[in-house]
Symmetry: C2
Subunit: 133 residues, 2 copies
C-alpha cells in the first residue's frame, strides 16, 4: 500500500475514534443523561417511561436519548407505537483508556512536585543547622 494512502487511512481512523470520544464525553456531561444510562443499566425502558421517571417532557427526553444514541451509548427500536431504549454497544473503553493515561501523567507530575518540595525542605533544614553553628 502507498505510504501516503496508509497515512491517510490511519489519520481517518484516528479522527473517527476522536469524534467518538468527543461524542461520548459530551453525552456524559449531563446529569439526566448519566441518570438515563444508569436506569437502562437496570433494564430497558420506553421514552415515555424515562420522561416520567426524570420528570421531563417527551420532547426533552427524546433530545437526551438522541444525544446518547448518536454517541453509541443507547440503542432504540420501535415496538408498535412505543420506542424502547436499551444500552448501546459502546462500553466506554477508549474513554477509560484516555482517563487512565491522564491519571498516570497527573500522578507523575505531582510526585515530581513532591520531590522538589522535599528537597527544598532538606535544604532549609541544612541552612538552619549551618546558622546555629
Amino acid at each position: 500500500m502507498h505510504a501516503g494512502r496508509a497515512g491517510h487511512i490511519l489519520n481517518h481512523m484516528v479522527q473517527h475514534r476522536t469524534a467518538h470520544v468527543d461524542a461520548s464525553f459530551s453525552a456524559l456531561a449531563d446529569v439526566t443523561r448519566r441518570g438515563v444510562l444508569e436506569q437502562l443499566g437496570r433494564g430497558d425502558a420506553s421514552i415515555t417511561e424515562l420522561a416520567a421517571k426524570f420528570r421531563m417532557t417527551l420532547t426533552g427526553m427524546k433530545k437526551h436519548v438522541g444525544v446518547l444514541e448518536h454517541a453509541g451509548l443507547v440503542t432504540t427500536r420501535k415496538l408498535g407505537r412505543v420506542r424502547s431504549c436499551s444500552l448501546g454497544p459502546r462500553r466506554l473503553d477508549q474513554e477509560v483508556a484516555w482517563i487512565e493515561r491522564y491519571r498516570e501523567l497527573w500522578s507523575a507530575r505531582f510526585d515530581a512536585l513532591d520531590e522538589v518540595v522535599a528537597e527544598l525542605k532538606l535544604e532549609e533544614k541544612a541552612d538552619a543547622r549551618r546558622k546555629r553553628k
Copy 2:
C-alpha cells in the same frame, strides 16, 4: 441538626459534585483540550506555547484553557507578562468512579442477554430433537 436542613445541605453537596462532573466531562469532549491536558502532563506551558503547539490563535487557546480551568483540570498563574498553565487539582476520581460503575451495569446487562440467547439456543436444540423423534 434539623432534618430538612441536613437534607438541604446534602442536596447542595450532591448538586455541587454533579456540576463538577458535568464540567469535567464537558471539558474532555474536545480533542484539543484533551491534547492540552496531555501536554501539561509532560510539563507546564504558557498560553502562547500551547497556541503554537496546537496551531491555534491565542484567543482560541485562551478559551480552551478557560474551560479546563473552570473544570479544575488546569491552574494558571501570571508570571510577569506570561500566563503559565499547569495541571489542576482534580484527578478525575468521580468521573472514573461513575464510568466504572456504568461498565459494571453494562457487563451485567449483556451477560443477562447472553444467558437469554444461550437458553433460546438450548430450547431450539430440544425442539429439533423432539421433531426428529
